[in-house]
Symmetry: C2
Subunit: 518 residues, 2 copies
């Protein structure tokens, strides 16, 4: 049985059970056994992280930055081994995905966190000189629990991704509950993270990692009063169960749940460049077998000839696509459930619709439905996580706008409009309707490909996330999730954090008496 | 029966009952009858605010700023009438409190909101030029429901205070559920607010006001999917009931619940200036009859002679103080309950402890308890909202630090230390323990008197509030509660909000490619 990283060492778990990962290419269990931790392990992790938190929150940020840079370098050194293991456990291709996209993304995030930690403008220091009142965002000084998703074994791994980077950048220890579908990758990452912790001299319990626990223990963990905050990326069902427990205990929880990422193809755009759009849509929808939070799950388009051609083209493209390899059996089972929900609500399968072999695969699938039915039945907004999209045919602009108004909160929405301005009026009205319903609004662009950019928002209104004011990606904004807004009133200069001292020896941008000084 | 301000007009309520305010000086009902709104009224308010939200979110900020300035001017014009009515309904003195402190605070907040709306740095615009990804905080474009407290009939009134100012500054309409203990004051404020809405040309449903509703309807209101967010200031019981309903529906709710605002008097400070501290403590504790969120409810002090002198002095001062006039009968009843809880947990009444006449009054009250008992029993952290404080006697520094570690989340904590440096070591350790437990940390200063300053944080960890990352006071930070973080990815320049357009014609501070430019 594999060990867990807890309380500053690799230890035997107090296992309530065990499990193995599968190789989805062969639909076969891998040999290693991993423990399902009992509460004892979680309690020990909480105790250790709570004890480490004050020292970590008082650590010089330079040391935190060194940790991130060291961790990134170690990930690069272990590159071949990591991507091979991740490919085995997830079926994701080594090239270009794991080796040339996801691993560099992971190390880039860690290095951006290092830069943000050194630069510190995310703390938003505010000083009112005459009143001698000062405030900035500071550490929670308490453990942050991170639940990682299945679809990014490296870049969103609970022990290596943006949530971990954000929480530690804010100088909080992390308890990582990694996703059980890629435990070997997670173990190797945790080894590297722990080596970086030791070499940079951070408290040993700055990072802890366990593979799995019961749902009950997960809820108990997030509702523990010692927890500073929680980051979760995964299914709506699992996330909402944790949210309920965390909310009841007053623990801030940041969720990234599910999204259908609607795409609006306006008539002028389709007339202008329908064939190119069909190719672009196929590329985005089937990339990574559609297993992205920002996968375009709903495409709203007119009921005219250009749209008919687009649909015909898209159906042919999906039909010609080989069945898509999935991450694991759970994804396949959820796809079956989601498709059943969509069909029972009135959607018709145009192409695909079934699982397929060898290994864990699913056909590239398109469904369609008319706009009035989509508007009337929220079941048609069920996320089908995988290579599946729903085409919504709208008679006219009014119907398209009504579809937009019926949308629940999403991570993204895209508006494709004619380059010659023919769609501009509709695009303006549509954008105003979509704006408060999504975190990221795109023009003439598919939503997959979440750039790690300071301005990126990977967030949005409920039920896409739990709060519309935050983002899970994008340094330094993502850091602010794991901070507290802290005020110093009449506090002597020597007792202030350096970011708020008169001297500003760090040269941090600050708002002084209402003016930003950089 | 008085009317409510709903859907752009003063209308008869769909009343499920009615009530009157009392004059606490005489403990007698005032003549006006006010409606308890049935759900029909709330539904109508929601419909009207939802319809008004898109137009408001697209309104030029200059018009919003004009509204705030116009409203402030109207409040000043109605000054005599407003403070007379507030005094009648709350028992708070016209001078200096209502006329010279609270009313100017109210108009100051509105004018600071106007300034923040024009200046817009609170939107935190971020631009990544090469990727053409841009983000800023923007309107929720949905109604914000505000529940006002009993203790500030003007400055925290749901129809005039910081929550209203913050929500409208972010360009969201407000449904104000004012506190039923000062309905006449609220009605007059709502009249002025509505006049300002009309004269500045905002959508008529930008402000709506109702007096009261059932607890069931309150929960239904905050869990309605049309609601953008909720601001609540009041009791822990009431706030947590609303939190549960809002959380379950995924509606962001900002709560300001309760706080005991611990004061630590270190030995050197007491030896140095004990008599002055006793006077300062009395002033803060009995100001406004102790009816402040930041009232110093717990005072931690040594068990030495200087502390004995301080306690003797404080007891004499409280004993000599006339019984304090309370806001209403509910405050008196809750004081009885809180005192009973404290006493049953082992606190001893040193002075006061009983209600008193004429009118609704309560004796200035001090209790004491030893540190080990305080640490062991969280009931001793019960807030007694009124002229009541608990003295906690600690044998030594270790006990004082243990008291700090046992504290739940609070709005504030104060550390008094010797000016000659004698307490510096303890103060440093103590401050590090207190920092993550409070929103505002003070040195040598009582926590009452929440300056309306950009750096002010009126917030703190649960259960003082529902989230440690926000503040209810302090422009512009308080505005950010009622915003969404919104990203524009590849969006054409002409479709961007002006804050994110290339030209930056407004000259707003922005972070461009990782550098703040002002």
């Amino acid at each position: 049985m594999e060990r867990i990283l807890i309380d500053g060492a690799w230890r035997d778990a107090s296992a309530a059970g065990d499990f193995a990962a599968i190789n989805p290419v062969e639909d076969r269990e891998l040999p290693e056994r991993y423990p399902v931790s009992a509460w004892t392990d979680l309690e020990r992790a909480l105790t250790a992280a709570t004890a480490a938190a004050p020292a970590l929150s008082a650590t010089d940020p330079g040391r935190i930055a060194t940790f991130f840079e060291d961790y990134a370098t170690r990930i690069e050194s272990a590159r071949a081994e990591l991507v091979a293991c991740a490919a085995l456990e997830t079926g994701l291709p080594i090239e270009p995905r794991l080796n040339s996209v996801e691993l560099p993304r992971t190390t880039n995030q860690l290095r951006l966190a290092a830069r943000a930690v050194r630069e510190r403008s995310w703390m938003l220091p505010v000083i009112d000189v005459a009143a001698n009142i000062r405030a900035c965002h500071g550490p929670l000084a308490a453990p942050v629990v991170v639940f990682g998703p299945n679809n990014f074994p490296l870049a969103f791994n609970a022990i290596a991704g943006s949530d971990l980077a954000s929480a530690i950048a804010a100088r909080n220890p992390v308890i990582a509950k990694v996703h059980p579908s890629h435990p070997g990758t997670s173990r190797r990452l945790a080894e590297l993270a722990f080596e970086a912790v030791r070499s940079s001299g951070l408290p040993a319990a700055t990072v802890q990692m366990l593979y799995h626990c019961s749902n009950d223990d997960g809820r108990r963990l997030v509702s523990d009063a010692r927890v500073g905050a929680i980051g979760f990326t995964g299914s709506r069902t699992g996330g909402l169960a944790l949210k309920k427990a965390a909310d009841a205990a007053g623990r801030p929880i940041y969720l990234e749940l599910s999204s259908i990422n609607p795409i609006f193809l306006l008539p002028g755009a389709l007339a202008e460049r329908g064939a190119a759009l069909a190719q672009e849509f196929q590329g985005s929808c089937l990339l990574g077998s559609g297993q992205f939070c920002t996968n375009p799950g709903v495409l709203v388009l007119p009921d005219d000839e250009a749209a008919d051609r687009f649909v015909g083209d898209a159906v042919a493209r999906f039909d010609a696509h080989p069945p898509a390899l999935l991450l694991n059996r759970g994804v396949r089972d959820h796809l079956h459930e989601a498709l059943a929900a969509l069909v029972s609500a009135g959607a018709r399968v145009r192409v695909g619709g079934a699982a397929s072999g060898p290994g864990v695969r699913f056909q590239a699938t398109l469904l369609d439905v008319d706009a009035p039915r989509f508007i009337a039945d929220p079941r048609l907004q069920t996320e089908a996580f995988g290579p599946v999209s729903l085409l919504v045919r709208a008679q006219d602009a009014a119907e398209r706008l009504a579809v937009a108004r019926a949308l629940q909160g999403n991570l993204t929405a895209s508006v494709y409009s004619a380059l010659d301005g023919a769609d501009d009026d509709e695009a303006a009205t549509l954008s105003a309707i979509l704006r408060p319903r999504v975190g990221r609004l795109l023009n003439d662009k598919m939503p997959t490909g979440v750039a790690v950019s300071a301005a990126m928002v990977h967030g949005g209104p409920y039920p896409a996330t739990g709060h519309p004011g935050f983002t899970a990606v994008g340094m330094p904004a993502a850091i602010r999730r794991f901070t507290a807004l802290q005020c110093y009133d009449g506090v002597r200069d020597v007792r202030l954090p350096p970011e708020l001292q008169d001297a500003n020896s760090l040269g941090i941008p600050r708002c002084v008496d209402g003016r930003w000084i950089v």
